[in-house]
Each structure stands twice: as structure tokens, then as C-alpha cells.
């Protein structure tokens, strides 16, 4: 998986079906997408990964939710970011792949401790393009500041990043080339964007030492 849109929400949550969003994603340069919520159909020329989002107010609640069968069946598990203590704990939960909604968290909520834990455990932080595209003024400035902070921590601690459009419509999907431009707004280089777009594949199939299962 070289380029993955880490979050799309098809019909009925949005106005475009999964098949149509997959068709558009293919035209926009993606080879896989992560689908949140319901979505019928299995397009042929694009890999579809099933994602689930956990919204929890405490670490205990998050752990309880990740043990639900529906969450275990998902390919990618997202957790909405919270306060500093929650993010530190979420980064350490093995079942969690990605911490998302970081733009909505307070400044410093994802700190160096969470960054180091995320790097050790291979937990990614999601960069959603929705606030950059859809917001204006102060709200967009805040999101850009958060992303710049995350990028600084990423460069220091080397935890994975993912990039998502958060699209609920084909009108909200953006091409790989446009994503390079949008991520450049908060200082991401071309190589960093390329690496972030391909990181979902490494999250769900991490590099591990070869294990002998039978002799």
C-alpha cells in the first residue's frame, strides 16, 4: 500500500457510496482507503480496510471498547485524542493503531511522553485534512499549529503519521498531489508526506522478526 486515505465515511454517513468513493480515490492516486462505518460493496481495483473509531473519556473505557468483537474485527483501530493523560495511555494500548482528532485536542495534549510511547509501540498520529480544507480563520490556524507541533515531535521521536481526508463525499476527497501541497502548509516535506501516506500498511502488518510456528 503506497498511498492510503486513512479515513473516509461513505453513505449513509455521507452522500457518496463506498464504490463511488473508491472509484474517485483510484482516480486521485490512492491504492487503498480506510472506511469508517457502514459501506456496502467491495470494489475490485482498490484495497478497502475497515476502520473503527473509539471515543472514550478514560483509559479504562478505551480498553473496554477495544476488546469488543466489532473493534477486534476491524483492520485499523482509531482513538479520538483527549487530554494529556489519556493520550499517553492510548499510545500504549496495543490494539490501538492510530490516535486521531489531534487538531481538536488542547495544545500539548500529545506531548513528548506520548510521542516516545507511540514510537516504541508503533502507534500513529493522524493528520486530518478536513480542518485545513473546511475550516477558515482561527480554527484553521489552530489546526495548523497542532499539526506543526506533531510534526516537530514526529521528527524527534519518529512515531508514524497517517494522513486522512475525513471525506463524507467525493467532493471532500483530495488527490495525492493536492495532499502534498496541503501538508506543505505546516512544513511537511515531500518525503514525509509520501511516508505518511504509506504508513497504514506498516501499521497493520508491522515488520517483526521471523517466527517459526512449526518444525
Amino acid at each position: 500500500m503506497k498511498a492510503t486515505d486513512a479515513c473516509v465515511c461513505p453513505y449513509p454517513a455521507g452522500d457518496s457510496t463506498l464504490a463511488r468513493m473508491a472509484l474517485e480515490a483510484r482516480e486521485l492516486g490512492f491504492d487503498s482507503i480506510v472506511v469508517i462505518g457502514e459501506g456496502d460493496g467491495e470494489p475490485r481495483d482498490l484495497r478497502i480496510l475497515r476502520g473503527v473509531v473509539i471515543s472514550a473519556s478514560s483509559q479504562k473505557e478505551a480498553i473496554r471498547q477495544v476488546r469488543k468483537p466489532a473493534v477486534r474485527a476491524a483492520d485499523v483501530v482509531f482513538v479520538n485524542a483527549g487530554d494529556t493523560a489519556f493520550n499517553r495511555a492510548a499510545a500504549a494500548v496495543e490494539e490501538v493503531h492510530v490516535i486521531r482528532n489531534i487538531h481538536a485536542a488542547r495544545r500539548g495534549a500529545f506531548d513528548h511522553v506520548a510521542a516516545r510511547t507511540a514510537a516504541d509501540r508503533g502507534t500513529a498520529v493522524d493528520i486530518s485534512l478536513y480542518p485545513i480544507i473546511g475550516f477558515r480563520g482561527r480554527r484553521r490556524q489552530t489546526a495548523l499549529q497542532r499539526y506543526a507541533d506533531i510534526l516537530g515531535l514526529h521528527r524527534r521521536y519518529d512515531f508514524p503519521l497517517t494522513i486522512s481526508s475525513g471525506a463524507r463525499s467525493i467532493l471532500e476527497q483530495r488527490s495525492v498531489r493536492e495532499i502534498h501541497g496541503l501538508c506543505g502548509l505546516f512544513g511537511m516535506t515531500e518525503d514525509e508526506v509520501t511516508c505518511a501516506l504509506s504508513s497504514i500498511g506498516r501499521l497493520i502488518e508491522p515488520y517483526r522478526p521471523v517466527r517459526v510456528v512449526s518444525e
Binding site: Q173, S175, L182
Partner: protein
């Protein structure tokens, strides 16, 4: 001396939406000003020089085309209608860009479909795409399906 310019070809989504050139210009200026500020946008001198057949060509000063293309990616509405502007190509001449225009015209077979309590008119496009436009509203609600999605209903 005349300054060098660059032209950006963008495809307008959804298909069939034909915005007024002035409305498109205002949307581009709003997006560019919001993203880059008055100074940078003023120096880039963006202008809409062509708008037809589902495509538009945006002119800007050479060297600013990357910034303007990024601003175009943040356009979400034109005159209160939800749209997306997809950058297709950048060139130094309008003629080169016009050669790349491939208008997406609806296939002749249109129809009607009822989803829930709403009635939609269907417009079929190449590559199995079907756009559903809700009937009888000023700001029309659209759904974006494929032919298979529609047949399954």
C-alpha cells in the same frame, strides 16, 4: 515588460455544475486570501480566464502556481453550492491546457429513483458513475453512486 504567467486547469465537481465565472473568481479569491493573506494573493494576481464544460483555467504569476493550486484545493463552495476543484495540469499557455479538457457529459439514459422519502433524478456518466440530484429544491441535495449501487436498490 510583461510578466510571465502560469495557467492552472481545474476540473469542477460535481459533473454538470456550471458556475458563473465571477462566482468562481470570488470563490478562488476567498480561498487564496484566507489561506495566504491579502499580500501574497495580491502578488499572485489570480484570475479566472476560462470556465466552461466542467473545467476552469486560473491564471496567476509564474512562481505562485503551487500556492494557488493549494488554495484551489481548499475551495469547498461556489455561490453556496458544494463543489470541489481538482487540479488537472499547469502550463504556460491556455492552448496547451484546453487540449487536455475532456468534458464529462451525461449519458443519454436519465431516470428517476426514490430513496427513503426523497425522489432523485439520475444522471449517468462514463466509468459507471451515477449522480442523483434531488428534485424540487433550490439548493439541490446530491448523492454520488455507481451503476452497481443503483441496481442493488
Amino acid at each position: 515588460m510583461r510578466e510571465k504567467r502560469r495557467y492552472i486547469l481545474v476540473r469542477i465537481l460535481p459533473y454538470g455544475f456550471m458556475p458563473d465565472r465571477k462566482d468562481l473568481y470570488l470563490a478562488v479569491i476567498e480561498a487564496a486570501t484566507s489561506l495566504w493573506g491579502d499580500v501574497a494573493t495580491g502578488l499572485a494576481q489570480p484570475a479566472v480566464v476560462f470556465c466552461d464544460e466542467g473545467y476552469a483555467i486560473v491564471r496567476c504569476r509564474r512562481g505562485t502556481e503551487g500556492d494557488i493550486a493549494t488554495a484551489l484545493a481548499t475551495v469547498t463552495a461556489i455561490a453556496d453550492e458544494r463543489v470541489a476543484l481538482r487540479t488537472v495540469a499547469t502550463s504556460g499557455t491556455i492552448r496547451a491546457l484546453k487540449r487536455r479538457i475532456r468534458p464529462a457529459r451525461p449519458l443519454e439514459e436519465t431516470g428517476e429513483v426514490v430513496i427513503g422519502e426523497d425522489s432523485f433524478t439520475t444522471y449517468r456518466y462514463p466509468r459507471q458513475k451515477v449522480d442523483l440530484i434531488k428534485k424540487g429544491t433550490m439548493h439541490q441535495k446530491s448523492l454520488f453512486f455507481t451503476r452497481e449501487d443503483l441496481e442493488e436498490r
